[in-house]
Symmetry: C2
Amino acid sequence: MHRNDDYYWDKVRETRPAEQRQSLIFQRLKAQLDYVYEEIPFYRQLYQAHGVEPRQIDSLDSFSRRIPVVTKAMLRQSQRDHPPFGNYLGVDFKEVVRIQGTSGTTGEPTLFAISAQDWDEISEAQAMQCWAAGLRPDDIVQIVFPLSLYVGGWGLLGATEKIGAKVLPMAGGNTERQIMLMQQVGSTVICGTPSFCLHILEKARQMGVDLAAGPLRLGFFGGEPGAGIAGVKQRLESGFGIKAIDFGNVAELHPCSNMECEQRTGMHVYQDIDYTEVVDPSDPNISLGYNRKGAVVYTHLWRKSQPMIRYFPGDETIITDEPCPCGRSYPRMPNGIIGRLDDMLIIRGVKFYPSDIEEILRSISWLGTEFRIVIEQKGALQEVTVEVELERAVAPADHQSLVEQKLQANLGLRVSVIAKQPGTFPRTAFKARRVIDRRTGNQDE
Amino acid sequence: MHRNDDYYWDKVRETRPAEQRQSLIFQRLKAQLDYVYEEIPFYRQLYQAHGVEPRQIDSLDSFSRRIPVVTKAMLRQSQRDHPPFGNYLGVDFKEVVRIQGTSGTTGEPTLFAISAQDWDEISEAQAMQCWAAGLRPDDIVQIVFPLSLYVGGWGLLGATEKIGAKVLPMAGGNTERQIMLMQQVGSTVICGTPSFCLHILEKARQMGVDLAAGPLRLGFFGGEPGAGIAGVKQRLESGFGIKAIDFGNVAELHPCSNMECEQRTGMHVYQDIDYTEVVDPSDPNISLGYNRKGAVVYTHLWRKSQPMIRYFPGDETIITDEPCPCGRSYPRMPNGIIGRLDDMLIIRGVKFYPSDIEEILRSISWLGTEFRIVIEQKGALQEVTVEVELERAVAPADHQSLVEQKLQANLGLRVSVIAKQPGTFPRTAFKARRVIDRRTGNQDE
């Protein structure tokens, strides 16, 4: 058991010089490649189709250049062809102890089957990350994430148990009850989606409760890019009186190995949990290295059940190896996950993510927590309307044009703004869905 | 790890002759009494107020005669006076790893704080019970219970993990999704409240899905007395194609030590987990022994964190020591929990429980799953109206009077029946609230 005043979970590992770590990663990678090629039909067939064999991989560089990526569509197809878990399970089904799934609200979920050993190692890996973020045995951890098919909340729960801290498993739902229990129990840590946690803050204000005055000191935010957006992080930190930690979660990877440390200089990339590359989105065999924006690709170095080798979730990021003041030698994503390539909007030639609009809106203090981005086809033109909520019933007289100007200046795109009264949009206890695309052929609503 | 074909989890323990077990129970009881008297102010003060000391207890009989019971009201008062966990925590707060609470929808919840060692022992105890009920390592266990503050679902999850079976943590919500995943994954075990599981059956029928034709073989039902009611058990067994196991859960006890074995001859009383007595409801120091109906009183033999010594939840039952064909020597509750004394209705001198009405309604095949019991004061008289749903839009022409006659014949009370169309009443993913009391001073609605 680690003590409250231990600084590292595993000092040797966390401060290992980069070259040494690369060498260990390559050894693990080779072992994983041999394993998936020998044991997993999905990978063997994929590599045979690409004319590559594990024995040809003699460096991290040749791994990037020669090994094809895996996409969500490929996994779904494999599960359709080989129900229920696809032909990439790896372990004997007897070893599986957990079945989880995507949280998608439409269509059949992708299923995840995880072995006993992997489930335990996931908790251990997440404990190391949460420790670096400041979670300690004395903490009372209020889990606001759902604890159901979605894996994100289970990772935090497992980490909390490994660390020996106290779990208060609220698991979504009833916002007032979240606030009431937070006060009654004296929670010191909150974990949830940024959307729902912002809504908790909004409700607390309505109830006349100042959560920043209570014992909360730390928050873990995932499931959405939120806490990587400066304005969102600032609202969460001042509203709850906490350090807000951004962490990644890609359900296929569990654990996703990206989490900020206490310094909050962008998510650390725990390369010895999942090896992580930034590549050219149009050719994932071209590695971009550090400090260039591209698509991120992950490889499980340890998982045996449904291991992901070069999984391409479609997220954009930049990785840097500039040192972090925390002392850990892991590289970082200074801007977090910038956006999901699938979510990118291209309107009249301007490319942007919904999170770009969120970042601008969050910097305006008199706007509330919810908003919607409505995209419509008007004749030949595509128009964007941003519907915002005011934080209170009063606001500057020219508030709509103020928001329009700020959006135009930052996005380089003229958009219309419609301001609504506080509480207009429905709140979610999980992930918000804020883009309403009314263009022909888009059925996002 | 136990093997699929092991019959017992712990043969020596489960088949121990009654007298030997009583003697072990008494040793544990003495140790617990010494512990709570020395370490826990709540118990020391209670026993001093009743003029009793642990050293005076020299038999199970004197334990029953001299040790006062603990009620929910006393725990709530203790938590009000000594927030948040009351003055009966026992262990150092550092040892606590779980904070759970009552699922009550009104008022402040009662909080439960559980130590690491107790949390592990709870899972071990529940594993032994679930094994006797037929749960095995090869099973895929779909947990339909919420996994949040309510402890019931966590007990099943812990038992499933100890046994090494596979957990599919659906945790309430979306009925169609429950059915879809059940089919996609091939769940063999379902765990939930009888109300919600009956609703799953109703929805499956609407979807044209015959769940009895699938791989489900076993179900664990708790949170409500449901699966102890013959008509409910029969509907669950035939609808899902399973053996339906009734288990108790009293959140204050966790684990509640009542669970049926595969024979389903009534819940076994695992006396060496929680020592269980049946007493006179008006004087809980009068023990009624076997085969007499009374109030049940439980004592934790192992728990150190918030241990319950003679906890009186207000439930009525009968315990018998007639042997069960399963071979275990634990006594049984042949009728399960008959009712909660607080829920008992007395109308025009006739005493009955809502579950008595449920039992009668469940025996009528053309009635649907939901119903309401409405109690009104009409002048000097109290009137009961039972609102039922038809299973389909068609039913016998004189259906209302048929139900009225059956209720009157079985209850000995004239009640009115109003039949409604299928789907009239709201469904719940957790516990149903079916009594609507409109008498003055009753605000149950």
